[in-house]
Symmetry: C2
Subunit: 585 residues, 2 copies
């Protein structure tokens, strides 16, 4: 049987039980083949091989609908819905995304769903549409146990439980978030596993779902059986399956946390193909926070199940001990706990990906900022060197965080300034502070950065020049410096400014610049609309000063190549120098 | 006993059982006395009179800590924590806020907590701080059953359940959100009430809490007893109390939804003191949506338990029937369901307060915008005429919604344009669209607004002038028109523009304006930083055009008087005309 010829879920229905088992083996090989070259969510994908095949066998896609949560467990789904060649043939490897992408297979991939926990609510929308139109088909939310911790998943369950029509939630319980998950719900899932689904106080039954349990979540026949039981039900059903993250590949079974998401690796050993010898932001943050655990008895490091972004693997977490708190994938709670802990008189620091902080904007405004509590956040993966996937862009943090009151948002130019800013943020007790971790090839503006940032919104002139002032924020400081160097070769001595703050402007300095500058250009590593430069453009509205604001445009880009994208944004030093010369002509 | 002399919770401890009963009566009178004049959350406050007194009797505030959720149930709390005079003496009535306000009583009011569902997570932060410092005291989250539906409450429960120290959650179950609550959790609460707490599949026990139930949640003695049992526990406990919203005041007991929040009313009858005879935005929206229910078989009106904002009381909800969907207080799910329903091929429209939409920014970006689904939102209470309380400001919606891709945000000048825009939004199938409901004294820019807004970001010149162009967005269009009239009296014929869109700019028109204008002024009813005007200031950065952007400054204001505040912002037509004249001199 040549499985590489499978084109759609219907093809799976024709296979014999033996062929289905072989297909599972084939899919595993293909997952390894692709992820070894491109990296990927190896563990989640390996864990749901049988479940995905069984779903295709039992249900009638695309008539029936499925929403994956998080959708990075979709490799086999992609193989069986017309995208097999992305796995079997080396060339088109990169043409498919890591998540479900509606543009790739509109009938099958309904949503991107790249962030955790929306699947049940999205499915509810589909269900309401189906019911209003008087149609009949199955709707399945396929959700990992990790994703269940996010509040939106509960919201969806609460509402779905009272539907009087088909609604199937498959809980893919592999006992892992990115690290191990924990919390009251997870004790209940453990009780359910240990009692083969019979424990009293069943979370899903308490909310009102019919409930089915399957211990052998990597057994195709049994999966097919339990899915068939749930199929065409006219009421809400949870199918709780116990799966193994990384199933069938020894290194992934042994290192489940590392194999949640892997860079390119050697299949034989499971070791990454290359290790970056440069100190990166994760290890800088790790070393910084571990040292602080020693010197600050009242430090609390909060994470929402992404400790790997700041280099906290099992060893570091143990070392941090009671200074470390994982709140599951709950960014809303992450921010509120940060606010509460600051109110309680300790020093919370919450490192979080900027793209995930989008989930807690209300808590940023209502809990941290309105109460004006000195909690500290570190935003990761912001800017063009973050995660180049449409679902995880780090472009919107400056607009989302700097146009509401009180929060101080600092953008360090390099690693030294980064730790200096963190030092200040943790020492002071007046403001909520976020520090934007610098990503990409960054350089510090100064050998010795300031220790005190309490004089808010004071920019710093690094080189005094005239005619042109380059205000280069955060990770783009180096880009500004290079641009100034290029201009110098053209006889233009530009003033080079490290603003340090992106949440406010230095009106005194901006006013001064009017004396002998005719152009101010702002560079920011994020969306240029509603960002830092916009504040400066507004400030100079009535002045004769010309203002050029540069950053990333307001649009979604998917799987971009950074240097290409920077060119598209006219953000290379050569382009910037050229545009500056044109503007002052 | 003169209860008006009570100064702190300790004073309550000295009272006899008989006096405590009298105190409850006194508190009820005071609630009515104050809210009859100022309006307020009458029902929630009346429901927790006994519980609040019993808490003060049993616990040791301020050593013990409490977080109210939502904090608008805090009238008795305020009386017993040093703010009695705001109730007993007419004069200082207005000096206290509707929510807990840290500035009023720093030891007692820990957070504003004006939005639903953060209490458990905030308390978790306090608990982690307490435990890290090795302190011992009680921490209580006092949360309504309505607030339990918001995902963050679940997130907090999940994490709190595994604490090994004191953590008390009082579930104030009055069987109401703003309207009746519903969903799977609420069936479980009903089962628990009906079984006196003994039902199998207890939601709280499933998550891992110790659990106590009290049927008589308005019985002071029994409340004291159950609180005393929970006090000083070294593990997480839920105390589930069954209370009556509006208890002790017949009109509030009979009209529980209306009395959730009341305008000033006559105590004797429970009827509002005045009824606005003008058509307001709620009734315009109500009539519009009810008519659409008739003509659009695939319309789905989504609410997150605030149907009163668009005039849907019980009668209208029944009339809308299957076109109406209340999702509890779950804005994240509100947006995801809107996205899912649009994907499912029907026409969802989700009216929601702008201040609450802050809770679903990630879903706006990741579900609605990235998937580019034609769901429709209507944002309420945005701008200065929204809710003038620090916790519910409608100032941040434009920065939060217009600096990320795809979403089309329309700001109608008046009611006619409002319904025209809604018509288009519901008809088209290309974009996610939000329409900003116009609040305040608004006027339509045109007698007959356009029917089609598919040519995105086309501004409209309402009066052609020269030298000065006033771009007056949404509810501030009238303010722009008045300013133009004033200027005319001074011999300046300003161009008056209705931009209609606040999510993008009309580059062609802006370019044209350069020919015979030297100043563009933008007026927007919201935060001026990162808003609509900022986009225009950026556009003109290299041009000679002067730009003045006007709106609300980036700061929190609490219980402001609108006209005063507008003056502070230099937004009166007279101030605007003056500033324009100065700018073009």
């Amino acid at each position: 049987m040549d499985f590489s010829k499978l084109r759609n879920p219907g093809d799976v229905k024709k296979l014999s039980p033996k062929e289905l088992e072989d297909l599972a083996k084939f899919c595993r090989e293909m997952i390894l083949k692709r992820t070894a070259v491109y990296g990927g969510h190896v563990g989640p994908d390996l864990g749901v091989v049988e479940a995905t095949i069984a779903l295709c066998r039992v249900f009638d896609f695309p008539r029936d609908k499925i929403v994956w949560d998080v959708s990075h467990q979709d490799d086999v789904w992609k193989m069986l819905t017309g995208r097999m060649e992305a796995f079997t043939k080396p060339e088109p490897y990169s043409v498919i995304g890591e998540y479900t992408v509606p543009g790739e297979a509109p009938e099958y991939d309904l949503f991107y769903a790249g962030h955790t926990s929306p699947s049940i609510s999205l499915s509810l929308g589909l269900a309401r549409a189906r019911d209003l139109k008087g149609e009949k088909f199955n709707i399945i939310s396929f959700i990992g146990d990790g994703s269940l911790s996010g509040g939106e998943a509960f919201e969806g369950l609460n509402e779905a439980a009272v539907l009087r029509s088909n609604f199937i939630v498959v809980v893919n319980d592999n006992q892992m978030s990115i690290p191990h998950d924990h919390g009251g719900l997870y004790r209940n899932l453990r009780d359910l596993r240990e009692s083969a689904g019979a424990a009293t106080n069943n979370y899903f039954k308490a909310i009102g779902f019919d409930y089915m349990y399957l211990a052998e979540g990597n057994d195709m026949a049994k999966l097919s059986e339990v899915f068939a039981r749930a199929k065409d039900s006219d009421w809400p059903v949870v199918v709780h399956i116990n799966t193994q993250k990384g199933e069938g590949y020894a290194p992934a079974e042994a290192h489940r946390e590392e194999f949640h998401a892997m860079p390119p690796y050697y299949i034989k050993t499971g070791t990454p193909r290359s290790v970056d010898p440069q100190p990166d932001i994760a290890s800088v943050t790790r070393d910084y926070l571990l040292a602080k655990c020693e010197s600050m008895p009242e430090l609390l490091i909060v994470t929402t199940s992404t400790p790997e972004i700041f280099g906290f693997m099992e060893k570091e977490r143990r070392q941090a001990g009671r200074h470390y708190l994982d709140l599951c994938i709950c960014e809303q709670t992450g921010v509120s706990v940060t606010a509460g802990a600051a109110k309680g008189g300790i020093k919370p620091v919450y490192p979080v990906a900027g793209t995930f902080l989008q989930r807690a904007i209300d808590q940023m405004i209502e809990d941290l900022s309105l109460d004006n509590l000195p909690g500290v956040l570190i935003t990761f993966y912001c800017g063009v060197y973050g995660i180049p996937d449409a679902t995880h862009l780090g472009f919107w943090d400056i607009p989302l965080l700097t146009n509401t009151p009180n929060l101080v948002y600092l953008a360090p130019s390099g690693f030294r300034e980064y730790t200096a800013m963190l030092d200040w943020a943790l020492k002071q007790d007046k403001y909520p502070v976020a520090v934007r971790a610098p990503f990409g090839p960054v350089e510090d503006a100064e050998e010795k950065p300031d220790a005190d940032y309490g004089d808010l919104n004071k920019f710093k002139i690094i080189r005094q020049g005239s005619e042109v002032a380059i205000i280069a924020a955060g990770a783009f400081f180096g880009r500004g410096r290079e641009t100034a160097d290029l201009l110098k070769k053209n006889g233009i001595e530009a003033t080079l400014i490290n603003p340090r703050f992106v949440s406010g402007i230095d009106e005194g300095m901006l006013k001064d610049l009017e004396k002998n500058h005719k152009l101010v250009i702002t560079l920011e590593d994020g969306c240029v609309e509603g960002g830092f430069g916009a504040k400066i453009a507004q400030f100079y509205g009535l002045s004769l000063m010309k203002v050029l604001t540069r950053g990333v445009p307001k649009k979604f880009v998917d799987r971009y190549e950074v240097d290409e994208f920077l060119k598209e944004c006219r953000l290379t030093p050569a382009q910037l120098a050229e545009d500056i010369k044109k503007a002052i002509k």
